[in-house]
Symmetry: C2
C-alpha cells in the first residue's frame, strides 16, 4: 500500500510517500516540499501548491492520502493558508477517487516517537530510523509529511478514515479516536508502539 502524507502549508507544503508492505514493514519512496512565493497573490500561490500536490498524486498514485488535521484554535495568522492548502490536498485526492485520512500532529508524533509532544529533531530522527534513511529528512515539513504517512500506515485498522467514517470503528478504536480528538492537540496521548 502506497501512503502519501501531506504537511499542509501555503509557503511550504510537505509531501512524503512511503510503501507499507507485509507485517507493516515501511519503506521510503519519496519526499519533497512544494513551495509558493510569498510575494505572489494568494490565488496564484494556491494554484502553485495545487499543481505540486496533484503532480505528486499523479506520479505516485497512492492508495490513501494522509493529511495533517488543521485546528481553528491555532491562532497564528497562517492557519487559514494552512487550512486552504489542506483543502487543496483533499480536493486533489477526491478528484482522483483516492481516500483521505486526517491525523492530528500529536497522533503523527505519537506514531513515530511514542510521544505526542516530541520536538522536531526527535520526529526527524525517528522518521529516518523507521524508514532506514542515511540522513535526517529536512526541512521539518518534509519529516512531518513522512510522519503523517507513517502514522496512517501504523494506525489501528480502520481508524479515522476521511475524518467522517468513524462509524466503522470497533469500540476500542472509537475510544482511541475520541481520546485523540479530545487530547490530541494540546496534551498528547501516549500510545503503545
Amino acid at each position: 500500500m502506497i501512503v502519501l502524507g501531506v504537511d499542509p502549508g501555503l509557503t511550504r507544503c510537505g509531501v512524503g510517500v512511503i510503501e507499507a508492505g507485509a507485517s507493516r514493514r515501511l519503506s521510503f519512496v519519496h519526499v519533497d516540499v512544494v513551495r509558493s512565493d510569498p510575494e505572489q497573490s494568494q490565488d496564484l500561490r494556491l494554484l502553485t501548491i495545487y499543481q505540486g500536490l496533484t503532480a505528486a498524486l499523479d506520479r505516485f498514485s497512492p492508495d490513501v492520502v494522509s493529511i495533517e488535521r488543521v485546528f481553528a484554535q491555532s491562532n497564528h495568522n497562517t492557519v487559514l493558508g494552512t487550512a486552504q492548502a489542506a483543502g487543496l490536498a483533499m480536493l486533489g485526492a477526491a478528484q482522483r477517487g483516492i481516500p483521505v485520512a486526517l491525523h492530528t500532529p500529536t497522533e503523527a508524533k505519537m506514531a513515530v516517537t511514542g510521544n505526542g509532544q516530541a520536538d522536531k529533531i526527535q520526529v526527524q530522527r525517528m522518521v529516518a530510523r523507521i524508514l532506514g534513511l542515511n540522513q535526517l529528512p529536512k526541512p521539518a515539513d518534509a519529516a512531518d509529511a513522512l510522519a503523517q504517512a507513517i502514522c496512517h500506515a501504523l494506525r489501528p485498522a480502520g481508524a479515522i478514515q476521511g475524518g467522517e467514517r468513524e462509524e466503522h470503528l470497533t469500540q476500542a478504536q472509537r475510544q482511541w479516536a475520541e481520546a485523540s480528538a479530545k487530547y490530541g492537540k494540546h496534551r498528547g496521548v501516549q500510545r503503545d508502539m
Copy 2:
C-alpha cells in the same frame, strides 16, 4: 464587465453574477447557492463546492472574481471550511487566468447599504434595489454573493486587486484600503456613496 461574487462556505456557498456597464450601471445576471451535504466526508464536500464554483466560472466567464475575505479571528468552528471554500474559488479563478479580488463583509455591506454594520435584511433589500430585482435574493448567502460583486464593481478604481496588489493604489486609495483592513471587520467604516 462581468463580476462573479462569492460568499464562501462549505455547506452553502453563494455565487452572484452581475454586469457593470457604462457609468457603473449594474445589472443582474445570475445568483445561485452551491451546497454540500454535511453528512459527507470533507474531501467529497470540497469536491462538490469546487465543481459548482468552476461550473459557474465556465458558464459566465467573469472578468473578475470577488471573494469575501475570511478572517482567522472568526472563532466560530466553521471558519476553516469557509477558508477552504474561499481557497477553492481562488484556485478555480487562477486556473482560468481570472483576476481575484478580496473584500471584507464590512466593505460589501458599506458598498450596498452605506453602513458596514447593516443587517441581513438591509443587505437583501439594497441588493434587490440596486439590481432592480422584483424580490429579495434569498438565502442570505445569495444576497451576500451579489453584494460582493456589487462591492467590487463600485470600488475605488484599482483598489485591493488580488489582496496583494495594493502597490498600484493612489495615496487616498491606500488610506481607504488601510482603514478598511484596520477597521473593516469589527467596527465598520462609513463611506460616501
